[in-house]
Structures are given as structure tokens and as C-alpha cells.
């Protein structure tokens, strides 16, 4: 058999909704899955069909996996945090217990886990916090100290469930409107935490502007930065070429690179963060 070289653990399957609870501005949803839960790593994502039969929404929606666990009886659980923003995510957030949704998972790269205990800072923007709690658990189990910063536009958009906070030594919250925590952005509070906790690695997930700002902070201080990017995707499996970013490869060449296959988790220092709607100079094949 030809052995697949891309997403070798990914499967396409129907998953049953086991639970769907509103948390602030978000929905926390639990799905029943099989052994694929044991393959999922923090940072991986899932691509879900939305709209049901005959829908005019033809593309899957991508969601970071909040948590994937296997119960003692072998049942796999996949947990997601959904922000009902557009028609597709709203359709998903409206699913009832017992409904089936079609998934492709697990997809993409995962956060790299250090072999030695390190002092890690996890930074989430909005529901970008979703994959960070499972990551915090893994890091904690490896003896790492984990500090966390979550930022959002307002208090209702901070996703920080109680059980998620258990693995975290400190949690700092920032909001753009000052409705919770520090009035400001995550990049305003990160430098002080890096200094006081002697941070060695930053993990982040959130909007591009946030990831770009964190990359600048980590580069200045020579700290490793693994970020999970959120580019618009049509397929999630590497065929459509829409989710690309300019990323430096191991050979030093910057290429337009698929964030669904070579991401979503990548080394922030290798990404050319640009706001312009143009290919940066020096990109291969420009």
C-alpha cells in the first residue's frame, strides 16, 4: 500500500454531539469520536462540514482542537470551542445533542514539546486560547512552569474555563475595553512576565497582528516562539493553496507555504508577517 506522507493519521468520519454549552461568547462542544482522539496533539485542528444536506456552504470550517481524550472504555472525546460568528460556525453552534457532523481530523502540525522542563508562556487571543489549555496540561505533566496571558476585545470574549486554569501557574487577562483584567493588549503585559518568570519559550494562538507583535518581542529577547496561525482555509488538507503565508524554509528560502499542512503551528521567527496585500520581496517565485 502506498503510505501517505501528509496527515497520515487523518480520517474523515461522522461525530455525534455529546454536549453543547454556551460559555460567554462561545460554545463549548463535545463530540464522540473513535481512536482518532488518541492521535490528536495540542495544536492540531479539525475541518467540519457545515450547513447539512443541500447547503450552499460548500467549504469546511477549521477549528483548533480544545481537548482530545480517550475514556477508559475506549470512547474518544473531541472538544471544540466555537465562536458563532458567520453562518457556518453559527450552524455548528446550533447542533443539538445526538446530531452528527462530518469531520476530517486530526489535521496540521502540533505544538512542539520540549524534552527538558522549561518555563513557558502561553498567549491566546480571543478563542485562540482554545488549544492552549491542553498544551498547558502536557507541559505541566513534563514538569514545565506555565504562565498564561489571554487577551480579547472584551470580557465576554475571554475563554478561560475553570478546569483549564488548573495547569497554569499564573493567568493574566487583558481586554481592549478594560472590561476585565488589564486595559490593553497582550503585548503590553508580556515583556514584564518574560522578565519576572524568566520565560524560555512562548506558545501563542490568535490573530495575525498579535502573533506578529509577539514575534517581535520574542526575537528581541532571543526566546523561541511557536505560534498557531489563523489563515482562511478552503480545504484544510493541503489541496486548495489558499491558506498560505510567506515562511522561511530550512534552506533559508522564503516560500508561500500552506498553513494547513506546514502549520497551523510554526516557528514565529520564520514567518514574514505582513499586512500588505502583496507578496513580500524575496519570496521564491515572485
Amino acid at each position: 500500500m502506498d503510505f501517505p506522507t501528509i496527515n497520515p493519521k487523518a480520517q474523515q468520519f461522522d461525530a455525534e454531539v455529546l454536549s453543547n454549552k454556551r460559555v460567554g461568547s462561545y460554545n463549548h462542544m463535545v463530540f464522540s469520536v473513535d481512536e482518532i482522539a488518541s492521535y490528536a496533539r495540542p495544536g492540531n485542528f479539525v475541518a467540519i462540514s457545515v450547513g447539512g444536506p443541500g447547503t450552499s456552504m460548500i467549504l469546511r470550517r477549521a477549528f483548533a482542537i480544545y481537548r482530545a481524550t480517550v475514556k477508559p472504555d475506549g470512547q474518544g472525546l473531541l472538544e471544540l470551542v466555537i465562536a458563532p460568528f458567520g453562518n457556518g460556525s453559527t450552524w455548528l453552534a446550533n447542533r443539538q445533542i445526538g446530531d452528527l457532523v462530518n469531520m476530517v481530523a486530526p489535521l496540521g502540525t502540533a505544538f512542539g514539546i520540549p524534552t527538558e522542563p522549561v518555563r513557558a508562556l502561553l498567549v491566546g487571543g480571543g478563542y485562540g486560547s482554545a488549544p492552549l489549555f491542553a498544551l498547558a496540561e502536557v507541559l505541566k505533566s513534563r514538569g514545565c512552569r506555565v504562565d498564561m496571558v489571554l487577551g480579547a476585545s472584551s470580557a465576554a470574549k475571554i475563554y478561560a474555563p475553570l478546569e483549564g486554569k488548573r495547569s497554569v501557574s499564573s493567568l493574566t487577562i487583558t481586554t481592549d475595553d478594560g472590561s476585565a483584567g488589564t486595559h490593553g493588549r497582550v503585548s503590553d503585559v508580556i515583556p514584564a512576565i518574560i522578565a519576572s518568570s524568566n520565560i524560555e519559550i512562548i506558545y501563542s494562538c490568535g490573530p495575525m497582528a498579535m502573533l506578529s507583535a509577539i514575534t517581535n518581542i520574542s526575537k528581541e529577547r532571543g526566546i523561541m516562539h511557536q505560534c498557531s496561525v489563523e489563515e482562511a482555509m478552503a480545504c484544510g488538507i493541503g489541496v486548495c493553496m489558499t491558506c498560505v503565508l510567506p515562511i522561511e524554509g530550512e534552506d533559508g528560502v522564503v516560500r508561500m507555504t500552506r498553513t494547513c499542512i506546514d502549520g497551523p503551528v510554526m516557528d514565529g521567527s520564520k514567518v514574514t508577517w505582513t499586512k500588505s496585500r502583496e507578496i513580500p520581496d524575496g519570496v521564491w517565485g515572485k
Binding site: 502506498d2 460548500i58 488538507i237 489541496v239 496585500r277 521564491w284 517565485g285
Partner: protein, 314 residues
């Protein structure tokens, strides 16, 4: 009696009529996780150009009702790396290969055809002429009978006699049969119908075009009636020219519709983005429909909608 699902286009034979569409199957490796590529009639590779190409800036994509716009800009590694890296792997999979090429000048098409000529085991060559011609103020080759002819002639002169040429046309023209006649006269053995339609989405929040390049190619079920119309018109005008049909096929029923219009084989494109196993489902459904409708041979269904009611048809 067993159903014969095989088909042929200008001497190229396929075990079944379901192919991928260029630019919708990656390098093949991405889909091989979900099904055996050899189950396809053939894989049509993404249109490859002479040199490496970064493609366009993001956003490159916008979902639309029953469709999507894309503006990838033919991102790719260039013909040399492609032939060195992608083709050997595809050959190992035992899948028939249709290479798709795209140029910015007539000379590009000649160069690409010569490169492909030197490769063994290629089933057919798709010539994507829905590209801007840098020598003609960026006008798309396939929008002008003269430049469409020049591009196909350049391929014909350089490909040799072994590999059939399939010219891929845009529906964004006044009379697609006129372009079809020109390229067939210039040496195309078959036609791929249809490429995407040019469209645009404006984000009403930012009040700016959604795509970085403003316009993009519309694909998906929204364009299927355009594909059916184009295939029907061209099959009526050129009944002896085989057509690879594509445009919004998302089910066996949709594929059957294109076959009835005159397609000898059907490519599945955008449907794969929403469903990695779409081509396999469509293949199975199409076979079931053909059998159910009483066809003993897939090829008897090609162009069946052209029969005269009350005539010799069933």
C-alpha cells in the same frame, strides 16, 4: 451483464470517467490519505508553468453561495522541479497522469510541451490557456481566437504525436464554440470545459474587495449550469471532439448531467475541498445511475441529451 465504465479521449483510455480537476488535487499526496489514487480515471495535476511561481498574496479565497472565488495565481515549483519531484511519485501510485500546463507567452507553451514530451508514461496533456498573455496586454489566451490558436499550435508543434492535447477553455467568451473550433483546428485532440468564471466579492464590513487581487475564479455548484450549457453547445458543434467536463460537479447526478451534455469524462474539483473523498463517491454514484438508467456501456451515455425526442433514442 457487466457494466463497462471505461472511457476514452483521443486515444487516451481511462478505466472510469472520474478525474480530478487541475489545481484541486495538490500533488496527489494530500488526497492519498483518503483513497487510492489509482481508483481515479486519472489525476490532473495543477497547472504548471516554466518557472517557480509564488502565486498571489492572501486573501486568495472567498466562499460564495454554492461556490467560491479563488485567486491562487498558479503557485507552483516550475516544470523542472515538478517533473523531478511530483511525477515519479504519482507513477508509483499506478494512477494515470494528465499534466496541466500554463504559460504567459506562446513560447512558454512551446517550452512546456518540449519538457513534457521527454517524460514517459503521461496519458494526456491539458493546456490551460485561461492565463493572461504578457505579450498581449495581459489578455487571456482563451478569450481570443487568434491567441488561443497560437498557444495550442505551439504545443502541437512541440509535443510530438504520442500524447493527446486537451485544451482547457474559459466560458467567459461570447461564443465558446468559436474558440473550440480554432483550438481543434490548431491541433487540440480534446477540450476541457469549463475553467472558472471571473467573479468578485466586496467585503461590506471593510468596504473593499475581499481578494487581494480583487477578482478571482468562481467555481462550485453555482457554475454547473454554465458548464452544462458550454459542453452541450460545443458537443453539438464538434460531435467528434471528446470533452473533459468540469464545473461544479458535487454528486454522481451532477457528473451524469455533464455526460448527457456531451462530456466523455468528468473532473471533480471544488467538491474535493469540502469532501476529500468526493471523487470516489461521485464515481460510485455515477456508475449506479448509468446502470439504473439502463446503459450497458458508459460511452453510450455521452451526449445522450442531444438525441431527438421520439427518434432512435430510448
Amino acid at each position: 451483464m457487466s457494466f463497462d465504465f471505461s472511457t476514452a479521449m483521443a486515444g487516451a483510455r481511462f478505466s472510469n470517467p472520474i478525474l480530478t480537476a487541475s489545481g484541486c488535487a495538490g500533488s496527489g499526496k494530500e488526497l492519498s490519505q483518503f483513497f487510492r489514487l489509482s481508483e481515479l480515471g486519472a489525476i490532473v495535476t495543477k497547472s504548471i508553468m516554466v518557472k517557480p511561481r509564488s502565486g498571489r498574496a492572501t486573501p486568495r479565497m472567498a466562499e460564495t453561495p454554492s461556490g467560491m472565488l479563488n485567486s491562487i495565481g498558479l503557485q507552483g515549483p516550475g516544470i523542472d522541479q515538478f517533473l523531478e519531484n511530483d511525477i515519479p511519485w504519482l507513477k508509483e501510485q499506478g494512477v494515470k497522469i494528465v499534466i496541466s500546463i500554463a504559460g504567459e507567452s506562446v513560447e512558454d507553451y512551446a517550452v512546456l510541451a518540449r519538457k513534457v514530451r521527454g517524460v514517459a508514461g503521461i496519458t494526456a496533456l491539458e493546456v490551460n490557456i485561461s492565463c493572461p498573455n504578457v505579450e498581449n496586454r495581459g489578455q487571456v489566451f482563451a478569450c481570443n481566437p487568434t491567441t488561443a490558436r497560437e498557444a495550442i499550435s505551439a504545443v502541437r508543434r512541440n509535443i510530438g504525436g504520442e500524447v493527446p492535447i486537451i485544451a482547457k477553455l474559459t466560458p467567459d467568451v461570447t461564443d465558446i464554440t468559436e474558440i473550440a473550433r480554432e483550438v481543434v483546428d490548431a491541433g487540440a485532440d480534446g477540450l476541457a470545459l469549463i475553467n472558472t468564471l471571473l467573479g468578485m466579492v466586496i467585503d461590506t464590513n471593510t468596504m473593499l474587495p475581499k481578494l487581494s487581487q480583487k477578482t478571482g475564479g468562481l467555481s462550485g455548484p453555482a457554475i454547473r449550469p454554465v458548464a452544462v450549457r458550454a459542453i452541450y453547445q460545443v458537443h453539438a458543434a464538434l460531435p467528434n471532439t471528446p470533452i473533459l467536463g468540469m464545473g461544479g460537479v458535487a454528486s454522481g447526478r451532477d457528473a451524469f448531467e455533464l455526460v448527457l451534455a456531451g462530456a466523455s469524462a468528468v473532473s471533480v474539483g471544488t467538491a474535493t475541498f469540502g469532501n476529500p473523498t468526493a471523487a470516489m463517491a461521485i464515481k460510485q454514484e455515477l456508475e449506479e445511475i448509468c446502470i439504473q438508467r439502463g446503459f450497458q456501456n458508459f460511452r453510450d451515455a455521452i451526449g445522450f441529451a442531444h438525441r431527438v425526442e421520439g427518434g432512435d433514442g430510448e
